[in-house]
């Protein structure tokens, strides 16, 4: 995982080294943006949320007790920043029309298909999938980030994969299933 290379910077930033903190933030930026964009499905909102997350991480890094927990900890901050940003600018549809219309100018049709299918999933399935496949976190780390048991995360991942596969093979199929949350 990319973030484990930053272990020394995490320790230094936690001790108050501002240069290490800045390096950490710069290294985290692409990851935070990808996470936020995958969850939010909106690049503008993702950029705003990723910025919020980085500011929070910089402000709170001194309180991080276990440097090993940095990947899950930072992921949880990004996820919460996306949720806050979405609450500030609520969206009614699963995916903004601007994306489907090509807001990502270099986007391929296949990527849009995946992102549209992902956006059709409910958040409680979408977020674990993104944390696993985009961020590379383990079920345990995802559980720590989302405050859920790892067994629950494994169930959500399995269900999310199945729904995502169904949506990718037949985009018209409904995202809802008989499972209760």
């Amino acid at each position: 995982m990319v973030v484990t290379d930053c272990h020394a910077d995490v320790l230094a930033a936690r001790a108050g080294d501002t240069e290490a903190r800045d390096r950490l933030l710069a290294a985290l930026w692409p990851r935070a943006f990808r996470l936020a964009a995958s969850i939010a499905g909106d690049p503008q909102l993702a950029e705003e949320a990723a910025q919020d997350a980085l500011v929070l991480i910089a402000a709170r890094i001194a309180a991080l007790r276990d440097a090993e927990a940095y990947p899950a900890w930072s992921a949880s901050i990004v996820v919460n920043a996306v949720r806050s940003a979405r609450r500030r600018t609520p969206r009614t549809g699963p995916l903004p029309a601007t994306i489907a219309d090509g807001a990502f100018e270099d986007a391929t049709a296949a990527r849009l298909d995946v992102m549209a299918a992902l956006a059709a999933l409910p958040q409680w399935l979408r977020i674990p999938l993104v944390l696993r496949y985009v961020d590379g976190l383990t079920s345990r780390e995802i559980g720590a980030a989302l405050g859920a048991p790892s067994a629950t995360i494994r169930f959500r991942l399995a269900l999310g994969r199945r729904r995502l596969a169904a949506l990718l093979s037949d985009p018209a199929s409904p995202a809802q299933e008989e499972y209760a949350r």
């Binding site: 800045d22 933030l25 710069a26 930026w29 692409p30 943006f33 990808r34 964009a37 995958s38 690049p43 950029e47 910025q51 919020d52 980085l54 500011v55 929070l56 910089a58 402000a59 920043a81 806050s84 609450r87 500030r88 990502f104 100018e105 270099d106 986007a107 391929t108 296949a110 990527r111 995946v114 992102m115 299918a117 992902l118 999938l129 993104v130 696993r132 496949y133 985009v134 994969r161 995502l164 596969a165 990718l168």
Partner: protein
Amino acid sequence: MNDPGERLRDAAFQLTVPPFPAARIAQRLASPRAPVRGAGGWAPLRAVALSGAIVVAAFAAAPPSRQVMSDAMVRTIERLTGQRVREVRPGEALPRSAHVHTRFPVVVPRGFEITDTLATDNGATLTIHDRKLGVVMLQERWATIPPSKLEGIGIHEDGSIRRFNVRRWTIGKIAFSVTMFDPHYHDIAERIERATRAASR
């Protein structure tokens, strides 16, 4: 490539990442304001201030009674013990544990004869008379307080010291437990659990 996870990963890594906004983040970090505006702006602060004002006004209108035991609590204990309960007067020196006892909301299982109740360190012990097994002890305590390490060995009603199992359940903030010396106790423990759940509804 059919695996949806791999397709998701590839799609995410094809995203065009905007340049790192170092200046913007440095500016926000240097700003004395809160780094991130909450979802409701000042609404949470307003709600907290309003709640505080309401509490202050309520206390001003009706100062809290210094009575430690509620009337319902006194009635419950009297009904359970068949004895008159003396109410603690304000200003009396009370150990902290006694304060906890008097505020503990004893749950009385419906349909059982309660022959005695005893305040314990963190709750109460009800003595239940069962026609089949004789005496069964129902422990009730605050669920937030861990059980004693001494549980697991006790004195049977025949006077012998035995190991026992404990059936535990929790309803709201109260943790219940019944000691079971042999398999016959499982039945009564199950019935007591159902009765306490019925009483707590």
